[in-house]
């Protein structure tokens, strides 16, 4: 696995419906950021291109900056605009 990070990527609500799945494992080069993950997803084409270029993202349950580095085994969730309450 040297040189790569494996990211558990989660989709919710409208994103989940858009993509037809709630979870993907994504392989990225070591040093990849949140932003790189989003680019990698969008470059898959099809429905993935409808994802925002800068969605809100949580890494391991915490809202995180697009520039944050990812580590192997991170759980990354793309968070659509929230509507609780």
């Amino acid at each position: 696995m040297y040189g790569h990070v494996e990211i558990r990527t989660l989709f919710f609500a409208s994103y989940k419906e858009l993509l037809g799945t709630g979870e993907l494992q994504v392989d990225l080069p070591e040093g990849a950021t949140v932003s790189d993950l989003v680019s990698a997803l969008r470059s898959r084409g099809g429905a993935f291109t409808a994802l925002p270029t800068e969605p809100a993202v949580a890494v391991n349950l915490t809202y995180t900056d697009p520039t944050s580095l990812l580590s192997d085994g991170d759980e990354v969730a793309l968070i659509p605009p929230v509507a609780g309450g």
């Binding site: 609500a13 349950l61 809202y63 900056d65 929230v82 509507a83 609780g84």
Partner: protein, 164 residues
Amino acid sequence: MTFTAIVREPIDPAHVLTLIGADQDGASLLFLGVVRDHNDGRSVGGVRYDTYEEMAAEVLSEIVGEAARSAGTDRIAAVHRIGELEVGEVSVAIAVSSPHRAEAYDASRYIIEEIKKRLPVWKKERYSDGAEEWVEGRPPTAPNTVPAPPAGAPQADAPQADGP
């Protein structure tokens, strides 16, 4: 001790009230968010709340912790329901007690406003014509832009026009 939960079962407001209150408290405040029969001019028959449950549990607990520190009371309970709800059912209950009323009002309001800003919960409305739609929410507040909870003094958060 504060109490927070993301639940699937109906919320019993009277039970939530039993989670707060202490002999030194002169004020208790219970806020209930309720599914209403309309939104943006459309007739709503019911809603479905989805969540990122592990994160929602964390975020709700953080929000309540902030309110507790600011208001100087740990007698706070906040419960958010997810799943299918009918009109009139309670989606969120927030109970706060404190020695004086100002702190209870401030903490209660802070918690519901922050829930609407940050809690990873999504709402799909079911309209009377059978159509369903995700409610347009707000981009969640990133951690580095989360406003600090009101320090000490009563907090005056701008009232939000959206939702309950």
